[in-house]
């Protein structure tokens, strides 16, 4: 489960060592944009050592390496892969070929390290117009791809438009990525909301992303983590309704009925599937049914 993913600069020891205390389901140790070229080596070592010595139980580690058109990405993987991150976030992914190139090198390292194939997942970061148009091909380019990730800042620069809080300029990219990811059977994560002080704005933005079908949302500020977790967690009403659905289905089966209505609405396969997803997530979060 990755409701929230918090970016942490790879060159900031204080943030890195406290990364597992900030409440997000996953942290993204950033070796790319947050780190200047002069600090790439130091950040890589710092992130590697943080992964080696710190206990991140309950918080998945994702590492954003540098893009494959830079001289850094292989060295990033050389240092990071032995620590078994949950996912590698691959920036500036524009084509299926980019994914395959990264996949090939990760496969090579996995073999050297004696890891089972696809131990480390890949999450292409879609942040160019080309990437958006190729989203489905990217999502299906390798078995290692577990999710797509939308990066709106670079994308809007590529689109030559202004990034706004309302986000109308990324509407197409958002829906396109959700569609592509779901068609490919992988998860999809929304871009961070960048105004750290706008509590209402992050709530609206996260709620909208959830409504579109995103699995979770990234954040550049620990202050947004709580809101994102709340938005992407099932509500008590959703949980209760899901249990009612499952109860009704069980009753229908017991009575030998093929179809059953709940609150005047026929329960069909998609409703059951959604109820199952909600209950699975609620159980993972330790949430239960309301007491009657």
């Amino acid at each position: 489960m990755r409701r929230s993913m918090l970016f942490l600069p790879g060159n900031n020891p204080n943030m890195l060592i406290n990364g597992n205390c900030l409440g997000s389901d996953a942290v993204i140790f950033d070796l790319e944009d947050a780190v200047s070229p002069a600090e790439k080596d130091a950040a890589r070592i710092l992130v590697r050592n943080t992964m080696r010595y710190m206990d991140f139980r309950g918080c998945e580690i994702i590492v954003r390496i540098n893009s494959i058109d830079t001289p850094y990405w292989k060295r990033d993987l050389d240092a990071i892969l032995p620590q078994q991150p949950g996912l590698i976030l691959l920036p500036k992914t524009g084509t299926a070929k980019d994914v395959q190139e990264a996949d090939a090198y990760i496969t090579e390292l996995e073999q050297k390290l004696g890891f089972a194939p696809n131990t480390v997942g890949l999450m292409p970061l879609i942040e160019t117009a080309l990437g958006v148009e190729n989203a489905f091909a990217i999502a299906t380019a390798a078995d290692r791809v577990q999710a797509l990730f939308l990066g709106a800042e670079d994308l809007t620069a590529d689109l030559r438009c202004k990034r706004t809080k309302e986000g109308r300029e990324i509407e197409y990219a958002r829906t396109r990525l959700v569609m592509a990811a779901r068609a490919a059977g992988v998860e999809v994560y929304d871009t961070p909301f960048t105004d750290v002080n706008d509590d209402e704005g992050i709530y609206k933005d996260a709620s909208y992303a959830k409504a579109l079908g995103f699995s979770g949302k990234a954040s550049i500020s620990p202050r947004h983590v709580g809101v994102i977790n709340e938005v992407f967690s099932p509500s008590q009403a959703d949980i209760d309704y899901s249990y009612e659905v499952m109860d009704a289905i069980a009753m229908a089966k017991a009575q030998g009925k093929g179809a059953i209505a709940l609150r005047g609405k026929m329960i069909d396969a998609p409703i059951v599937a959604r109820a199952e997803q909600t209950i699975a997530m609620a159980e993972a979060l330790g949430l239960g049914r309301s007491e009657q």
Partner: protein
Amino acid sequence: MDTKLVKSIREAVQLSGLKSGMTVSFHHHLRNGDFVLNMVMEEIAALGLKDIFVNASSLFDVHTPMLQHIENHVVTGISADYISGGLGRPISQGILDKPVQFRTHGGRPSDISLGRTPIDVAFIAAPTADPMGNCSGKYGKSACGSLGYAFADAMYAKKVVVITDNLVEYPLQDFSISEDYVDFVVQVDAIGNPKGIVSGTTQITRDPVGLVMADLAAKVIDASGLLKDGFSFQTGAGGASLAAASFLKDIMLKKGIQGSFGLGGITGYLVDMLHAGCFRSLLDVQCFDLKAVESIRTDPRHQEISAMHYASPSSRSAAVDSLDVVILGATEIDTDFNVNVHTDSNGYIMGGSGGHSDTAAGAKLAMIIAPMFRARLPIVTDRVTCISTPGRDIDVLVTQGGIAVNPKNTELMQRLAAAGLPVVDIRELKEKAERITGKPSRLPKGDRAVAEVIYRDGTLLDTIYNVK
């Protein structure tokens, strides 16, 4: 007598009968903006007096001119509840022959009232006074709000001098300290620098780790069973403590809980809680910011109290005895929950108990908020450098890495675990931090006592030795 006004501080010192070997006292409501202590000590030095004992409720960096008086043997002894690093460091290096006596905000007035620490002349910095000595901290250009720590000095000193930069016509209304205690009044241009007296605003932390701790702290209070109508609360002015108060406010409003009182050093955040209906009143021994000063001046629910009323163990009762929850800080805490707020990890004096051990002793739940490490040093240690507050009075430590409950408080431990909060053993927190920082080796202590930590009941709690 139609006036107690004298021409100068020097004249007041002379008329008070102060002689070498005597004791003078000061209060610290003007904090790091105070001019009065330095002005008085300069006159005492100029008059050629020596061997003076200074009993100050707290000393700040603004008071470093005292170092000169120590070197010249004008000052040979100090009692204070808090000493910041500017004076603390040289004291730790052994500048004074006699150890400093550290007391608490409750222990100091207790010892004064019991005659254990007699004061010959008290000098009271007063933001407003009339010519007969009625005075207040609520008005004037140097307004500081409450004068809580000065009451014991006024009531028990043999002679009392009020020093003001806002002399008003007799009688001053809404006075704090009344003329019947005052012998002399001096008017000066300025008793302090307003910028150092109170902060414009005190801010909650923006540090993500501080916010995590504050969120946990509020949840601990919520789960403690104490958060119900009539709840009483004290917190410090540190960023994480204020953030905890802010989160607590949200919980109280959501649950419709009206507490009885907020206590202690009062900030704008507690004033906001009063206005929001979280408390019926504020009991204020010291104001920390302009909002608190404005509130104590205008809102009758915001009540000034003396340090005796606040925390004295020899009062018939003190507000700390009715306190439900206090949030406190620590420079170190050991695995027996003893807390150090007097020295840094290297042994240099940089603080003091203030009301730490008074509120910890009185409150039903005494909580420490501290990060797992500061400046690469773990906060949880095997043994604190100095015991400021004994572990028996501390109930819980909140860090970003988990919550450690004192094993003596089994009920709290069960309540927090039932609420799903991350309760861990304090030794686990220590080990967790040491895995990151390594185990720091201790600096060797000197063999000369530079300060004695006197507990609120007058007994010796610990001794601080010089740093080599």
